[in-house]
């Protein structure tokens, strides 16, 4: 079950790329801690300066250093993504496991709940909530709100996996070996479910960052906090591209592309590595 990062690194070019890029992004996110400028204040530096030694990615029309804003944007977006992914994965997996193993009325109740949430139109509600909470939105509460919409997908998926795993013969073998239900869940079934959980985790991160970008572009995110979305918002507001301040417009767009692609590569490399079928092939080739 353990992921050998070295193994992955050697085998998979996409993972190499994704891993390196993501590490860079992580480093930048952490570096934001050392930012000489307060990300919320404007006019801390001269406006509209192109990239130079002093300002690696130039400055914005609001008087902020693009590089340092980017570091904060990475940090905030990642925090948001992780919060959403953690909550929604925990809830979704738990619901799916419970419904899958218990069955009966518990299953029916949980799945009705699950499906109700799936049916909710996420974007309009998010827009409404964003309006309502305008001033008080931060990464934490936005993360919680977003997880309301993303957890049900996990519920259905995990339940489906559990239902089929329960019928497989090795589950019976484990039962007749005297294993308790809990043991069966963790020792027999989890190895099959884990690749999905990891992929889902990373995909939820991507989804929630994407949602935030979407909200921000409409001005519905927390606009003083630098995130990738708000960078795009502000640069659009100031018509950066038209006015020739291209470094301010392009940075968030290119950064988001790199972030998404790197996470995607990591996610698919990990799932392919953990996928029972490819693990079997690896075991076989040891012969």
């Amino acid at each position: 079950m353990l992921i050998s990062i070295k193994d992955l690194f050697k085998a998979n070019k996409e993972f190499q790329f994704g891993f390196i890029v993501f590490m860079i992004i992580l480093v930048l996110a952490v570096t934001s801690h050392f930012s000489p400028f307060d990300p919320r204040s404007w006019n801390t530096v001269p406006k509209d300066l192109p990239p130079s030694f002093r300002h690696l990615l130039g400055t914005t029309s609001t008087g902020q250093d693009v590089f340092w804003i980017l570091c904060h944007a990475f940090k905030n977006s990642l925090i948001l993504g992780v919060i959403t992914a953690l909550i929604s994965n925990l809830v979704g997996t738990f619901v799916g496991l419970l419904a899958g193993y218990k069955g009966g009325w518990i299953d029916r109740v949980l799945m009705s709940l699950n499906d109700t949430f799936i049916a909710l139109p996420s974007f309009p509600i998010l827009v409404f909530l964003a309006f309502a909470l305008k001033g008080n939105l931060n990464m934490l509460n936005l993360g919680v709100i977003l997880s309301f919409f993303s957890w049900p997908w996990g519920g259905r998926q995990v339940r489906a996996m559990i239902l089929s795993l329960r019928e497989r013969e090795f589950t019976f073998t484990a039962d007749f070996s005297g294993s308790s239900t809990l043991k069966i869940v963790f020792a027999e079934h989890l190895p099959f479910v884990l690749p999905w959980i990891i992929a889902n985790f990373i995909n939820t991160i991507l989804w929630s960052i994407g949602m935030e970008v979407g909200l921000a572009i409409f001005g519905l995110s927390s606009l003083e906090i630098p995130t990738i979305g708000t960078m795009i918002y502000w640069s659009t507001q100031y018509q950066a591209l038209f006015r020739g301040v291209w470094w301010w417009a392009l940075t968030p767009i290119l950064s988001s592309i790199f972030l998404f692609v790197s996470l995607f590569f990591i996610s698919s490399a990990i799932t392919e590595y953990l996928d029972p079928r490819s693990r079997l092939q690896r075991i076989r080739s040891r012969e």
């Binding site: 073998t173 005297g178 029972p276």
Partner: protein, 325 residues
């Protein structure tokens, strides 16, 4: 009365299983219908339950193992009603005594786990004991099936052939020295050329380890080879029962005769001369009121269509057919 029950290892009383189906075919499927059957406890025996697909034999096996609950009737193992087992403690005791061998050796073990893990689990959960004791039990069980622990240690299921996996499944089942093995088509997915070694193993275990075996199969020839008593099922009911020699060499029921005639003989000089008629729609046969074999039986009488015949007894043989009233 209690004393009488204790002498039988396994007793099935009017065991019935009805499945509810949705939609098209009607509401109920009676998979197993009022089976009565007893395994005596004094001598460990091998009994074959023979039937084609749809006969209910696998459903019956699952009920004996406690995986499904019967809709009606009781299953009594060593004096205790299996369906009343609720708590974990009682369940583990039952697991020590009754173990399964399933049909598909490739599915019996989790492909992502080492095979030996199940053997150790069984020993740890059902037997307890020190590390050395557990290792010894596992080693002995593996030797009992003709393999060496050093051969299997650290290896995954896909490194073994079907025959070897089935042996390991048997080894696992033997660790607690159970009184009863329920083997559901244990060799039908093993190559024909390797089957005999596994069947011979079952026979040896029955003799040496004194374990009773319920051998479930659709193959009459191996049933004859394995057991002295045979039970033939058709569409959920027992249609013939008795000593294998008599049942298979001088069959009573027309269905048994059909089964026997349909076995291809490994002798090109003894090929089939006649043709047979197949059932076209199984579902129709399930829903019939009288004897379910009516559409294919060459001896059908009026009363066969109206009522299902009861089991008639002739010495130590039973047959469900009006021809033997």
């Amino acid at each position: 009365m209690n004393g009488e029950k204790k002498t039988s290892l396994l007793k099935l009383e009017n065991v019935t299983k009805i499945f509810k189906l949705g939609g098209l075919f009607g509401s109920k499927l009676i998979a197993v219908n009022q089976i009565n059957f007893e395994l005596k406890g004094d001598q460990p025996e091998i009994v074959s339950i023979v039937g084609e697909s749809g006969s209910g034999k696998t459903t019956l096996a699952r009920m004996i193992l406690g995986l499904i609950e019967p809709t009606h009737g009781r299953i009594i193992f060593k004096g205790k009603d299996v369906t009343t087992i609720k708590n974990r403690h009682e369940k583990l005791i039952f697991r020590k005594e009754v173990q399964p061998i399933f049909q598909n050796p490739f599915e019996a073990f989790n492909p992502l786990k080492k095979v030996e893990s199940y053997l150790f689990e069984t020993a740890k959960n059902l037997l307890k004991g020190s590390k050395e004791e557990i290792l010894e039990r596992v080693e002995r069980a593996v030797e009992a099936v003709g393999m060496k622990f050093s051969e299997i240690s650290g290896r995954y299921p896909n490194e073994f052939s079907g025959g070897q996996l089935q042996r390991l499944a048997i080894a696992r089942a033997l660790i607690t020295q159970p009184s009863l093995l329920v083997a559901d088509e244990p060799v039908s997915m093993v190559d024909a050329s390797l089957r005999m070694s596994i069947l011979n193993l079952f026979k040896k275990l029955n003799e040496k380890m004194r374990v009773s075996i319920i051998y479930i199969t659709h193959d009459l020839a191996t049933a004859y080879y394995m057991s002295y008593r045979i039970v033939i099922m058709f569409r959920g009911v027992v249609i013939e029962m008795g000593p294998s020699d008599l049942v298979l060499l001088e069959p009573f029921h027309p269905y048994t005769k059909l089964l026997l005639e349909s076995i291809p003989k490994p002798d090109p000089e003894k090929r089939w001369k006649s043709k047979i008629k197949l059932s076209d729609t199984e579902i129709r046969e399930y829903g019939m009121i009288g004897c379910k074999f009516v559409n294919r039986c060459p001896y059908t009488m009026e009363k066969c269509r109206k009522t299902e015949p009861p089991l008639f007894q002739r010495d130590d043989r039973f047959v469900r057919c009006f021809l033997y009233e």
